[in-house]
């Protein structure tokens, strides 16, 4: 496989990989690095890829594993920079004012979800994958995916309704 063929093949889902990585790693730079790293890995394994029917789902699964590894190594070392940044943002006054921007609020609500629900929301509501693909990527039964998704959506709804009603009254 030539480089140009490979790039043509991965081009349609490079943004999905990037957004997925960003959802898990939070920072744009980390996500960019992860995306580069991932495509390099795919390129090195190009012989194997040919055997996969669904390269995109395979790439997303690899992204998940890669991000998990990154998060783990960050916790093991003391590079918790991204997360402390995030917490600081949460408490700062500026952020509280920004909360009134409800689109930003949705972002924060999703980031607060457990890792698994976060991924499923990303894959379903933003990337519109079907349940079979999602269950492959996150390595869960399709019914379990639905349960987690429903839970995530309800949590977000509940929080949104709370602030919405609070804003009105």
């Amino acid at each position: 496989m030539k480089q140009s063929d490979f790039l043509k093949m991965v081009f349609p889902f490079k943004n999905k990989v990037f957004r997925f990585a960003k959802r898990l790693l939070v920072s744009t730079e980390e996500a960019e690095d992860a995306t580069q790293e991932l495509f390099l890995k795919l390129w090195k394994n190009r012989e194997k890829i040919a055997d996969y029917k669904n390269v995109e789902a395979f790439a997303m699964t690899m992204t998940k594993h890669y991000c998990y590894d990154r998060l783990k190594s960050k916790q093991a070392g003391n590079l918790t920079l991204v997360h402390t940044n995030y917490k600081e943002k949460e408490t700062s006054l500026d952020k509280k004012i920004e909360d009134q921007d409800s689109v930003d609020q949705v972002h924060r609500l999703i980031q607060r979800l457990p890792e698994q629900q976060k991924m499923i929301i990303q894959l379903r509501d933003i990337e519109q994958y079907d349940y079979d693909e999602i269950s492959k990527i996150v390595d869960m039964q399709p019914t379990a995916v639905r349960v987690a998704l429903s839970r995530a959506r309800k949590t977000i709804r509940q929080e949104l309704t709370k602030t919405h009603n609070y804003g009105v009254s």
Partner: protein
């Protein structure tokens, strides 16, 4: 789209029972701007999904490892150059201090020698004084 239908779809959506097509219908409804008041809290949600999907990977994919600019390496080189310049500065300072101490020790040695010899001279003078005194007492 009828409102009752949207309400039904929302219920299904929360139970994760909607199809991708139905979710597209919901997204269309909530991003067009004209939303029933009691459903307004969903507006932000679907707008967020839409907004998030617009975020793209702007870098070009580098498959050549050598060509890939490494962000960490870049920062590492910045850190290294700072470390080098700081150590050169401190090293230079230390060297100067050492030089000063060396000249100080030399001067101290010289002064000590001087004072030692001065004391020798002074004791000789004291002897002369004692001699003179005895002579004076004898003469008188």
């Amino acid at each position: 789209m009828e409102l009752a239908n949207i309400e039904q779809l929302i219920e299904k959506y929360l139970n994760a029972a909607t199809s991708l097509q139905e979710e597209a219908t919901l997204k269309n409804y909530f991003t067009q701007g004209n939303i029933a008041p009691h459903l307004q809290e969903y507006e932000a949600l679907f707008n967020y999904f839409e907004k998030n999907k617009a975020e793209v990977f702007t870098e070009t994919i580098q498959l050549d490892i050598k060509k890939r600019p490494n962000r960490k390496l870049k920062w590492l080189s910045v850190a290294a150059s700072i470390a080098v310049s700081v150590s050169v500065f401190i090293g230079n300072q230390e060297y100067r201090k050492y030089q000063k101490e060396k000249t100080f020790a030399q001067v101290r040695n010289a002064l000590q020698m001087l004072s030692l010899n001065l004391n020798k001279g002074a004791s000789a003078i004291a002897k002369v004084h004692a001699y003179e005194n005895t002579i004076n007492t004898i003469i008188k």
